[in-house]
Symmetry: C2
Subunit: 362 residues, 2 copies
């Protein structure tokens, strides 16, 4: 039994109602039902309908359930890139998407800025030959965010041709995207949706589907069971090719329903209020320094600070008080801390964290 509150950037604190939903799922034996049954189709439809409402998704977008954001990177390249993808890189995860394109034998090019920095649209030139533009809206490793206005401006500058893929793994539903400017977004449920890991959600429009169909018609391999052409028909029948993570699809539907009851605007406002609380504290702290210099590029959901005390020492001091923050990513393990600010974290919990950090670290 632990009372620890996880402010780690994913896996993170579960949405507060998840243990109760899990118990209900066990009592109703959701783990035993057939994935070909009407009961499963109803669960699937409920989750998709809830997500469509939360994301305010136009009809020409579909939602696919895959296993992880890693898998979505791979399927995106396999299904929508014949030759070349272009990547905005400013941290470990945006770099990984770039590398996956290379792994799959494509030409991948990139516009890279240092870790912790955001992008200036005026500096970015998308090659005319790029079929997919990979934009990380929220770089979980560095805490740098790309404002929605910058995404829209890049689309205006680039023109309508390439597919715009937006990584919102650790920010959705906070960013209010303009769906006329993007073609696909994807996220993992263990970040802002407060669920156990093991499910990736892929939102994509008719242009992505048409591209996959065209590559397949050309004789290219677009993969097998999780190719877009194989998956889309099943998805529209509230089905999956494989036996999926039924339990997580069920839990996601329950959490999204509650998010909709609260309202996405309230969630966005709370996210911003909590983020301001943390950034204000970090700015005044003697030990911490906000890692992302440019205020417009600071993530609202994954807040990163440089720390004078080693991150492990900060984590150790918090531990007796049942609070956990994340260490820095990769090379920044000891020199940064990462604080998740997800819908599962209440205003009260975030206040308590800030007070405790002030008391213990200064």
């Amino acid at each position: 039994m632990t009372n620890k509150v996880y402010f780690t950037p994913g896996p993170s604190e579960l949405y507060p109602t998840v243990p109760q939903h899990m118990q209900t799922a066990m009592e109703n034996k959701i783990g035993s039902i057939s994935h070909r049954s009407q009961q499963f189709k109803d669960i699937y439809a409920h989750t998709v309908a809830g997500l469509r409402q939360l994301l305010q998704l136009p009809d020409h977008f579909d939602i696919l359930f895959l296993s992880s954001a890693n898998e979505i990177w791979e399927r995106a390249i396999e299904n929508t890139v014949e030759k070349e993808s272009f990547h905005l890189v400013n941290g470990s995860f945006s770099k990984r998407f770039y590398e996956i394109s290379l792994d799959l034998g494509r030409k991948a090019t990139k516009h890279e800025v240092p870790f912790g920095q955001g992008f200036r649209v005026e500096d970015i030139e998308v090659p005319a030959s790029a079929e997919l533009v990979a934009i990380v809206q929220n770089e979980t490793s560095s805490g740098a965010g790309t404002p929605v206005a910058a995404i829209n401006a890049l689309r205006e500058k680039t023109g309508p041709e390439p597919l715009f893929f937006i990584d919102v793994v650790s920010s959705m539903p906070h960013p209010k995207l303009d769906w006329s400017k993007v073609d696909s977004v994807y996220f993992s449920v263990q970040k802002c949706f407060g669920l156990p890991a093991g499910l990736g959600v892929w939102v994509l429009n008719d242009r992505c589907i048409a591209k996959a169909e065209a590559l397949k018609a050309k004789g290219m391999s677009v993969g097998s069971y999780h190719s877009i052409p194989a998956t889309i028909g099943k998805a529209r029948a509230n089905q999956t090719q494989e036996t999926p993570n039924v339990l997580n699809i069920y839990l996601l539907g329950q959490v999204v329903q509650e998010m909709n009851q609260k309202g996405v605007d309230v969630i966005r406002q709370e996210t911003e209020a909590k983020a301001k609380m943390v950034y204000d504290y970090l700015e005044a702290s003697e030990n911490f320094e906000i890692a992302v210099e440019e205020p417009a590029h600071r993530s609202a959901t994954t807040i990163i600070a440089n720390t004078k005390l080693p991150a492990s020492e900060v984590i150790k001091r918090l531990s007796p008080f049942d609070m956990a923050v994340g260490s820095g990513y990769g090379n920044y393990k000891e020199s940064q801390i990462r604080i998740a600010n997800f819908p599962a974290h209440s205003v009260g919990q975030m206040q308590a964290l800030v007070y405790k950090l002030k008391e213990l670290v200064g």
Copy 2:
């Protein structure tokens, strides 16, 4: 709340202790821990050690956690087949593996026998050019099994060269394989391990790894985050590339520990005793007929019967008594029923099912 007992062939009845383990997992916030933490590595190591003991696995085999058996089919072809695979096909799932090889641009050849039949080693000629031989040890769609002795005989007849991949999705740990005769086996946790779906287990030896490394060295794409070369190093450090289904890896470790306490030999004996009970009943029934004619080819874990009454009527009659069997697969939906005989199903539950079927259907 439901008291229904699921004899469906997967997802199926959960192992009886799973709800309790799930509650413990929630209390200990296993869904929130970092997949890079020592706590996760310990969970991973515990699960792998338990599986190694249960499967009596030699040291030159590794265990990888993927998302489903569907994914393992795809990764197997991508990583170990440059040009050609060969498939024994006698049902929907063995056929699917064959099709996935074609989807991925390989030459796939097959030895096919009608749905519901097993294979005769004397009829099978593995082409000398086949790099992978796909053998379904237990065809979940038809209930036809391949005895371990036949797998061993096919290896003797074929020689040591091609990789032997054995589908034990819905039979492990019942078949007592000779690990010197096979190179890889794979299964899903929602069948014989009595867990919620969302995890595939891939067991593979050093020859599979060497093949993947060789294909990669040749410049072939072997995939990205879940390629064998990318995954094997992580696995040996008790890690995964992506954030995995942590909860299911934890639960699998708990169930396997209990299976080991019981002992794999006892599980095998119970499985056979329960299978005999069901087959004896089906043989004497006026409504049912054992679907697989040849006794040596009858699966011990997925028992299929032709039914005079429509399957939907059998299922309807059982429903008020809180018992569920599966309908037939695909075209056999109404003309067959499928009864799972997994370790989660106790002798008492299976007896109760047989009595009730006798009473309701005859």
